[in-house]
């Protein structure tokens, strides 16, 4: 019973969806009155936000404003942080992700994450991509081959890497590593991808490739990206949220926010006259 379920889980064949299990999570995010504490420190204050599906939403704000912390609420990575308390309502699609009924690992399968520093595992390119599917019970080699090819194609790396699948992922350049991490996240077919400053450690060319990739990805997934680079937010995002000292100061269409921000604090921050 369980086995059958898992087989169908990743049972897409060459784009035609056969037997696909309907994922329990949707691809939009809705947060109502969220508060987050680290011990006594009130890191996020009464935040409500609706993040639309198949769009790129950027979180901007000065260091320590809580944007990364907020991002990590969506796949419950904050569970790993000691003394972190979260209240409020977090919904992905219709599912309350902090309810007891939610399986954290299933959640993280549906909400992929890409980190600030590329973190490929010390394994081959192939095994990196196959890590997620294997975690969820895919064992058949032919199936894994398909997933690897699909994920790398999606991440626009297939041609670059198809002859290097068996080489260690750590031998790739920083930019390639980061795109590999995106491909790795895509391998389990998430509905949402969270990116925590994915290009801050990369050179401009790699950054450009990842930005292009993000724009292509939004056809299939919802992307939420934390960035320090305001130009990047302008370039790739459809919506932007500005955080300051744990408050969500302003949230709206990116273009609007960068030509005519409503809040003086947003204006000061994005024009660099902050503080």
């Amino acid at each position: 019973m369980l086995k059958e379920k898992k087989d169908t889980d990743v049972g897409r064949k060459n784009g035609t969806e056969t037997n696909v299990k309907k994922a329990p999570f949707g691809n939009s995010i809705s947060v109502k009155r969220a508060d987050l504490f680290y011990g006594d420190f009130h890191a996020l204050k009464n935040i409500s936000i609706e993040i639309p599906s198949n769009r790129i939403t950027a979180f901007i704000g000065p260091s320590g404003c809580g944007k990364s912390t907020f991002l990590k609420c969506f796949n419950r990575m904050n569970d790993l942080v000691e003394g972190c308390r979260i209240s409020g309502e977090f919904r992905i699609g219709d599912v309350d992700i902090y309810s007891d009924a939610t399986d954290v690992n299933e959640l993280r399968k549906n909400v992929g994450m890409v980190f600030q520093k590329p973190n490929p595992f010390p394994m081959s390119v192939y095994d990196n991509i196959a890590y997620g599917p294997r975690t969820f019970g895919v064992r058949k080699r032919s199936q894994l081959d398909e997933i690897v090819e699909r994920s790398l194609t999606q991440a626009a790396m297939w041609d670059e890497l198809k002859d290097r699948l068996n080489k260690s992922a750590l031998g790739l350049s920083g930019g390639q590593q980061q795109r590999l991490c995106i491909a790795r996240a895509l391998a389990v077919q998430p509905q949402i991808i969270l990116m925590d400053e994915p290009t801050s450690a990369l050179d401009p060319i790699s950054t450009g490739k990842i930005e292009d990739l993000c724009s292509q990805l939004k056809e299939q997934v919802t992307v939420v990206i934390v960035t320090h680079n305001m130009q990047q937010a302008v370039r790739i995002s459809d919506k932007t949220a500005f955080f300051l000292l744990g408050d969500l100061v302003e949230y709206g269409d990116t273009e609007k926010m960068f030509t005519m921000p409503h809040d003086k604090r947003t204006e000061d921050y994005i024009t660099g006259r902050f503080g």
């Binding site: 960068f258 030509t259 005519m260 994005i270 024009t271 660099g272 902050f274």
Partner: protein, 216 residues
């Protein structure tokens, strides 16, 4: 924070008002020359146009540099992008003033004044539009900008009337036909100046609100 950037922005505004002042002077002179036929003063206007062109060039360079180096957003983005549009309109206004003055310089003494018919009314209407646009830019007065749009309709009406004046003049006596063409050209230039003044008013509104309205 961002001291150099702010200094540059200040410099931009400074140069903008330099350009404005020269343009205002040109328009005022032109309008007066039409009434007086003062060719010497008209030559001064022609000479001044190169200064305006130079300022246009400088401001454009400055804006490019600011966009390149500072990647302006929000208020700064609006200021700089509207400045780039406004200087184009100011430069065109300067050019038209120059064109009118060239006609004045080359016109023959034949007993027919250049402020013939409704042209003098157009001239003063356009002059106040230009002055108002400057006022609006300096004070950030959106209501004033909107009133400039209404002026433009008046100018368009006056242009129709001036055109009829010219047609009547040619019908009256064919020997005035050369003069009549000059008069019509002048009227057309004033009409264009009015349009540019309206454009300026629109960009002033954009700089303030982030919305680009259509005042025409």
């Amino acid at each position: 924070m961002r001291k150099i950037y702010d200094t540059q922005l200040k410099l931009l505004k400074q140069k903008m008002s330099d350009m404005y002042l020269r343009m205002e002077q040109s328009i005022t002179d032109t309008v007066e020359c039409i009434a007086t036929g003062d060719k010497k003063r008209a030559s001064e206007v022609i000479a001044r146009d190169s200064e305006i062109d130079l300022l246009n060039e400088e401001i454009q360079q400055l804006c490019f540099r600011l966009i390149l180096t500072e990647q302006p957003v929000a208020q700064d983005l609006r200021t700089i992008s509207s400045a780039m549009k406004m200087i184009t309109d100011m430069e065109r206004i300067g050019d038209h003033a120059e064109d009118i003055c060239e006609i004045i310089v080359e016109s023959k003494e034949d007993g027919l004044a250049l402020d013939y018919g409704h042209i003098s009314q157009m001239a003063s209407a356009v002059m106040s539009m230009v002055k108002d646009s400057i006022q609006a830019f300096v004070s950030g007065d959106i209501a004033l900008c909107e009133s400039i749009g209404k002026y433009d309709d008046v100018v368009d009406d006056l242009f129709e009337k001036a055109r009829n004046d010219v047609i009547l003049l040619i019908r009256h006596d064919v020997k005035y036909s050369e003069k009549a063409l000059d008069l019509f050209t002048i009227a057309k230039y004033f009409e264009r100046i009015g349009d540019h003044a309206t454009n300026i008013a629109e960009w002033v509104i954009f700089a303030i609100t982030g919305e680009h309205p259509s005042l025409q």
